[in-house]
């Protein structure tokens, strides 16, 4: 069992190297890490506020003297960008809630109740998290066509919920396993039934874990591309990733880089905010989901 990284486990860092080396090398390494992670994003942000002349300039302009918001105005004016945002938000939120609603009870059952075939189910759930979506898309396409779900949020909500249920089960199961068993036993002694105990004792305790899984699900649903590209054909119902990708496709001859950069910045802002707020939970969730099982 692997302990989760948490604020409690701070001072485990080994320092085998001499202090002097560490003083020079470490800051350099940190700067490299920051540069690696941020440079492409910063370049895109910079592009989004440059004038068209500066964007096309060769050699590149790194420190523009003129700034403009025209690209941001353009994406909202020429395209239903607010609709895209709303669509992404609705689809991601609904599938996140559904996913927790469906995944958490399943996780509890797998963590606490003795069920025949439990190991097999867990193994299947784990393998499923590894399937690329392209394997599902042909079958889902048929379902969407047969049920007439094209251009309906449900065409995205159902697969998004499903593709995140395995992770939810894995993460929540590991949280349930960490909860002391006594808690439930004493609750049972006090005459709580399984359902009551679940609703009144366990769920409140697991709110932090729910938030962790919820964030991971939300991010994954916000970012999904393949299903959104295939199942939504009406402009007003498109989600952010598809809509932005199609801005780039809009002109094979002359790509509107300014508006594209602005759209990228706007489309990623909600996620940047999530990461800033919940960095620790994301890390916990990812490690629990991947390393457990």
């Amino acid at each position: 069992m692997v302990p989760l990284p948490s604020s409690a486990a701070v001072e485990t860092s080994p320092s085998p190297s001499p202090l002097s080396v560490k003083k020079i090398v470490l800051p350099l390494a940190v700067i490299l890490v920051v540069g690696f992670s941020l440079a492409p994003i910063l370049w895109q942000v910079l592009t989004s506020v440059k004038t068209n002349a500066d964007i096309a300039a060769v050699p590149n302009v790194y420190l523009p003297t003129r700034f403009t918001l025209e690209h941001y105005i353009e994406i909202f004016r020429r395209r239903p960008f607010l609709s895209y945002m709303l669509n992404s938000f609705m689809v991601a939120t609904i599938s996140t809630l559904l996913c927790l609603l469906i995944g958490t009870p399943a996780a509890y059952a797998l963590a606490r109740l003795k069920l025949p075939g439990e190991q097999a189910i867990l193994a299947i759930v784990l393998i499923i998290t590894l399937f690329p979506y392209i394997l599902l898309f042909l079958g889902l396409l048929e379902i969407v066509r047969a049920l007439g779900l094209a251009n309906n949020y449900l065409a995205l909500v159902i697969p998004y919920t499903a593709i995140n249920v395995p992770l939810t089960i894995l993460v929540m199961r590991s949280f349930f396993q960490q909860l002391p068993r006594d808690l439930e036993d004493s609750a049972k002694v006090d005459g709580y039934g399984t359902w009551q105990m679940l609703a009144q004792i366990l769920v409140p305790l697991t709110v932090p874990a729910l938030v962790t899984t919820g964030i991971l699900t939300f991010i994954s649903a916000w970012n999904e591309f393949l299903f959104a590209l295939t199942f939504i054909t009406r402009e007003s119902l498109k989600t952010i990733p598809v809509a932005v990708a199609q801005i780039s496709g809009t002109a094979a001859f002359e790509i509107p880089y300014g508006p594209l950069a602005a759209a990228t910045v706007v489309g990623t802002l909600p996620l940047v905010a999530l990461v800033l707020l919940f960095q620790r939970r994301i890390v916990q969730g990812l490690t629990a989901g991947a390393v457990k099982g």
Partner: protein, 300 residues
């Protein structure tokens, strides 16, 4: 008494599991089973989209389909290259983030940022970075005097493959760093101290302590990344759409084109089935090694 309790618990358990299992069956099991069935039919524009049973014809056709083999090759090169590079860089980042320094929390946040951003949008960002006219990569290389004229990165086969690998490495390295960092934090510090007293260099401690103890995490990360990279779609669709001339066409891109552009459902289904089988085989091999390593390093 206890047996009724057990049956009740069981019933509750299945009830709790049922919605999840039904959903997974609908979205995972059905499509794959359906593809298996459909792959035995010819259902395309030639049959006016009506299914006609043809047995294994689609698989025979696949064996002589140069484009399919090309896409398998592209996918393999892409997967192996990006996962290997990510492991190296991800390990480096994890080692850095495992040190204690002021502002470590903020740096960790920054380091996982690429992972959280939408791949499709990141694709447009990298396409801009590798742009042949005003892209920053060409600009930097020109300024450094490494090239004399701009490279048409996305317009030539090898540079295009390199570009999508770079973009993927950037996007998914944080995932590996996070997993490896969790592993690093579980290695007790006194192991290193004892080793250092024995006169071992940092490199030796890395080789002899860190790597072996980190092996489970490395394998898990590799397994996850392998599966994800093998199914890569959005990044490549946005950056190159598989071009130029199919040089970056992965299996996913080919399947998508076969179904959505050619409307060749039967053949698309056969492609899905073969991809599925390949993936399961590789996963089984990886899982085998994983269990061996786990057995070797104790209960982890």
């Amino acid at each position: 008494m206890s047996s009724t309790l057990e049956t009740r618990e069981r019933r509750t358990g299945w009830l709790l599991l049922a919605p999840a299992l039904i959903l997974l069956a609908l979205v995972y099991a059905y499509p794959i089973a359906r593809s298996l069935w459909l792959s035995l039919f010819n259902q395309n524009l030639g049959t006016e989209l009506q299914p006609v049973f043809t047995g294994l014809d689609n698989y025979v056709r696949m064996s002589g389909d140069g484009r399919f083999w090309q896409s398998i090759l592209n996918t393999s090169v892409f997967t192996v290259a990006s996962v290997l590079i990510e492991l190296v860089i991800g390990m480096g980042i994890a080692l850095v983030l495992n040190q204690s320094f002021p502002g470590r929390g903020a740096i960790r946040t920054i380091a996982i940022l690429p992972w959280a951003l939408p791949t499709a949008l990141i694709g447009t960002t990298w396409a801009w970075i590798f742009n042949d006219q005003a892209g920053i990569v060409n600009d930097i290389l020109l300024r450094l005097g490494l090239i004399e004229t701009g490279i048409n990165w996305l317009g030539n086969p090898l540079p295009a493959l390199l570009s999508v690998i770079v973009a993927d490495v950037w996007k998914t390295t944080p995932f590996i760093s996070i997993l490896l960092l969790a592993g690093l934090q579980s290695i007790p510090g006194d192991l290193y101290e004892a080793h250092a007293i024995d006169g071992a260099s940092p490199w030796q401690s890395f080789r002899q302590i860190t790597l072996p103890l980190l092996m489970p995490q490395i394998l898990v990360a590799t397994l996850f990344r392998f599966a994800q990279a093998f199914g890569i779609f959005d990044l490549i669709q946005v950056m190159t759409s598989g071009g130029p001339g199919g040089a970056t066409e992965t299996v996913s891109i080919y399947i998508y084109a076969t179904v959505m552009r050619y409307l060749d459902f039967g053949y698309g289904a056969a492609l899905v089935v073969v991809t599925f089988v390949v993936l399961v085989l590789v996963m089984a091999i990886a899982a085998f090694f994983l269990s061996k390593v786990r057995a070797a390093t104790g209960d982890r």
